[in-house]
């Protein structure tokens, strides 16, 4: 009997219109757990590195987490993985809500989509019954509206739907997949659109077996209550009117400047009143007591749900008041546009116009105010009309297509992907490493366990450390010794980067929400889930006996496999740098030392490529073989013979 997982994937070929239910290899679970981990294995095995992301053979994989459909609270993150046309690398996205657990109850761990349909279709999964259905009547429909229409036409109000909007249909690079109160961003909607898959609807009524049910239910019941009572988890801003954290620390416009003094009491009162006006209800995801999302009713717009900092991104990019953000979100969420990257793209276009690089010829009828310009641009981009066709490829590619110095305005991308608009003064080494080496393209998917800033007061610091159950001992030491305005040592920096990303790599396999786990240790240090209590949840659910070091090792295996996917597609050390102006004061020499140390710590060579020894220790020999065949690693590297030769050469 297989526990926690269903043991079946759904394989859909949209070119041939075929549907298969395929049993999975049970040996992969102890190696990769599930979610992103097993998805990476499938991408490694089946998508050769030469493949164009727009090829029909590119895969789009929806993965439930290993703990979806068990009573584990907050286990509801569905991972979406593919290769991105924007970065040409691995693309990783997560969305919450209800989709993953529903898919699990329908009897599947993953949906693997290959091929391309000749016209727009949607997928309807109802337990064992799976159909590819015509979706041409849904063309151009909003992403959330599509969900409602599909449920109505199927007469299945309980179905869970994930859909793309107009932007996805038109293969806009920053298009999302929208579901309930959550969106999958970072370049996955474009592939769904390329495959002409408008939506996936799923309804599941089957049981999921777990190994030690009574024990699991008991710890989950306790955990659910603990999560509700814990003020340091969930979206801590969800009931807050005080937006000073984002307003003061994040950059406005095209990631240009921080505005000191912008956040005043008057503004707080005004913005709070704006939010009240449109707020209908706070909502949560499946089996989580944290109501992180706000259902918004803006006049003339489709009802939508607000999540985290997208409450502010458009207003800050446009230098507008909050009302503007609520208004434009009502449109962009229906189009299925990423609320993090799109505002930057729009601000970038406005800058190019003001600099005379884009002209009225490129943009006939371009309005006068920034607010109107944003709306104008959104319409063009979602339809890929005129200049919108260029901008729809994201800041990096648009800058190069436009030329005439536009490249200079692309100052906030990394690995061709728009980054969070943060412009800070002094380089922070753990952050330098996470930005430079992360495969997930967004710092929020990498950071989160170790505090961002030290605690000045020694006594407070000691108190913090004393109750810091989530942290392995070494981090407590480093944190105790960390004084304000001091750098962390090389050893500490490398370890901090490693711990932070490791926790995400765990969440992304079991499906727990980062707001309860990997992202939430950095503020307050009391995340409900951490490396020391997660093993018990996983063990009770799956029956696998594992402890914190086993979990850490699985995370390292997945981390290296995903690294390998990108290495095979050409990622090298020269790509590993944060946006040039992310910090005003840099320390290039120390940064390179840090990078060397991090690579060494990870068991990677000086180019950032995992060595054979590292790969073998993680049971990834097949990756090493492949690297050698392709000449990515020198043949026989790390073998006794080669080491002897090297020693001889050094003499």
């Amino acid at each position: 009997m297989r526990y926690a997982e269903t043991g079946f994937n759904l394989e859909i070929d949209l070119s041939r219109g075929s549907i298969e239910r395929v049993e999975t290899d049970p040996r992969l679970t102890p190696l990769h757990l599930g979610g992103q981990g097993t998805a990476a294995k499938i991408l490694w095995d089946r998508v050769p590195p030469e493949l164009d992301p727009f090829s029909p053979d590119n895969l789009l994989i929806f993965s439930t987490g290993l703990l979806h459909g068990t009573p584990v609270p907050g286990a509801n993150r569905t991972a979406v993985n593919t290769f991105s046309p924007q970065t040409n690398f691995y693309s990783h996205s997560l969305f919450g809500g209800f989709f993953g657990p529903e898919l699990k109850h329908a009897g599947y761990d993953k949906i693997i989509i290959r091929g391309k349909s000749s016209d727009l279709v949607y997928l309807w999964i109802h337990d064992d019954k799976v159909e590819i259905r015509d979706a041409t009547h849904l063309r151009g429909k909003g992403a959330i509206e599509t969900g409602a229409l599909i449920k109505e036409e199927l007469k299945e109000p309980e179905a869970q739907v994930a859909a793309i909007g107009l932007a996805g249909e038109n293969r806009v690079y920053m298009s999302t997949i929208e579901h309930s109160n959550s969106s999958a961003s970072r370049g996955v909607g474009v592939i769904m659109g390329d495959k002409k898959l408008k939506a996936i609807a799923v309804r599941g009524t089957k049981d999921i077996n777990v190994a030690r049910p009574a024990e699991l239910f008991e710890i989950c019941d306790r955990q659910y209550r603990e999560i509700y009572d814990n003020p340091n988890c969930g979206c801590v801003f969800r009931h807050e009117d005080d937006e000073s954290w984002h307003i003061n620390n994040f950059a406005w416009g095209n990631a240009r400047e921080r505005r000191k003094g912008m956040w005043t009491q008057e503004r707080e009162a005004e913005w709070a009143a704006t939010t009240r006006k449109y707020t209908v209800r706070w909502t949560s995801c499946y089996n989580c007591p944290k109501d992180c999302h706000i259902s918004i009713a803006y006049p003339g717009r489709q009802r939508y749900q607000l999540k985290c900092y997208s409450k502010l991104t458009y207003s800050m990019a446009a230098y507008e008041e909050l009302d503007f953000n609520y208004s434009i979100l009502g449109l962009t969420q229906e189009y299925g546009l990423d609320g993090f990257t799109t505002p930057q793209l729009l601000a970038f276009a406005v800058e190019l116009y003001e600099a005379g690089i884009l002209t009225d010829q490129d943009m006939p009828g371009f309005p006068a105010t920034t607010a109107e310009r944003f709306f104008w641009l959104v319409e063009k981009i979602a339809r890929r009309e005129g200049i919108g066709d260029v901008l729809a490829n994201g800041v990096y590619w648009a800058a190069r297509q436009i030329g005439k110095g536009a490249e200079e305005f692309d100052h906030n991308t990394m690995k061709k992907f728009e980054q969070v608009p943060l412009k800070l003064s002094m380089v922070n080494f753990p952050y330098f490493l996470m930005y430079a080496t992360g495969e997930k393209m967004n710092i929020t998917q990498i950071e989160g366990s170790y505090p961002q800033v030290p605690i000045a007061d020694r006594e407070e610091r000691e108190e913090f450390v004393a109750g810091w159950e989530a942290a392995p001992e070494r981090f407590k030491r480093w944190f105790l010794d960390w004084e304000p305005r001091e750098h962390q040592s090389i050893e500490a920096s490398v370890n901090i980067a490693d711990w932070n990303e490791t926790m995400h790599y765990i969440d992304d396999t079991i499906g727990t929400c980062a707001f309860l786990s990997s992202f939430r240790g950095q503020f307050g240090g009391r995340p409900p889930y951490h490396i020391y209590n997660l093993p018990q949840f996983v063990s009770c659910a799956t029956g696998m006996e594992l402890d914190d070091s086993d979990l850490w090792k699985i995370a390292a295996r997945n981390r290296n496999l995903i690294r390998a996917l990108n290495i095979r597609r050409g990622l090298r050390r020269s790509d590993e740098k944060p946006p040039e102006d992310h910090w005003k004061k840099r320390d290039p020499e120390m940064e390179q030392k840090m990078l060397d140390a991090y690579y060494e710590f990870k068991g990677w060579n000086s180019e950032g490529i995992p060595t054979r020894k590292t790969l073998e220790a993680l049971s990834l020999e097949y990756v090493a073989d492949d690297f050698e065949q392709r000449g990515i690693l020198p043949e026989g590297e790390g073998t006794p013979l080669q080491e002897a030769v090297q020693r001889a050469g050094n003499r």
């Binding site: 009574a214 699991l216 209800r281 009802r303």
Partner: protein
């Protein structure tokens, strides 16, 4: 008939619709409590409480399973409350052919809320316990009722329907006849 008064324990679950966040923890807990072995599996499809959710119309209504009906209602109300429209079915706990709620997914047999009475040690039913945001709250109170208002057993219900159909005399005759043959 007697006019004696007796005290009865009335159990109520109060629902504050404004407080529901749609987390469905109530469904998960109910299905766990009623699975065999107890807490052996969670599956909202087997829950005796379901949250009717229509996000776009801000409908979040937890309903508990009541009786079974072989046929759906011919006409239904639409209620407008505070400017929001609700279907009658959204408040109805009946296991009814018009929808999937309150049926065992495998057998289709109707499910019914039993107020978690199987475990008398519970201070509150499971769905209420897990609803941390107090959308669901539990109230128990004593009520003085006519003795005949006590819930009737299956036999009484059966007899009553026979009497309705054939009249008291005929039923008594039949009882005498059948019992004399034994």
């Amino acid at each position: 008939m007697n006019d004696q008064k007796v005290t009865k324990n009335v159990k109520e679950i109060k629902v504050d619709l404004d407080k529901c966040i749609g987390c469905r923890a109530c469904e998960i807990a109910c299905s766990a409590f009623h699975s065999r072995p107890r807490f052996g599996a969670t599956n909202p499809a087997r829950s005796r409480i379901r949250v009717v959710i229509d996000e776009l119309n801000d409908v979040y209504v937890p309903i508990r399973a009541g009786d079974y009906t072989p046929a759906e209602c011919t006409g239904r109300h639409k209620y407008t409350i505070n400017g929001k429209e609700y279907n009658e079915c959204s408040f109805c706990g009946v296991s009814c052919p018009s929808r999937d709620y309150f049926k065992e997914p495998d057998s289709g047999l109707p499910l019914k809320c039993d107020m978690c009475e199987e475990d008398p040690t519970l201070s509150e039913p499971w769905c209420v316990q897990v609803c941390r945001c107090d959308c669901l709250t539990y109230v128990e109170r004593e009520e003085l009722v006519e003795a005949e208002d006590e819930p009737r057993g299956e036999m009484e219900l059966g007899l009553e329907s026979l009497m309705n159909k054939y009249g008291v005399e005929k039923v008594l005759d039949a009882v005498a006849r059948v019992s004399s043959k034994r």
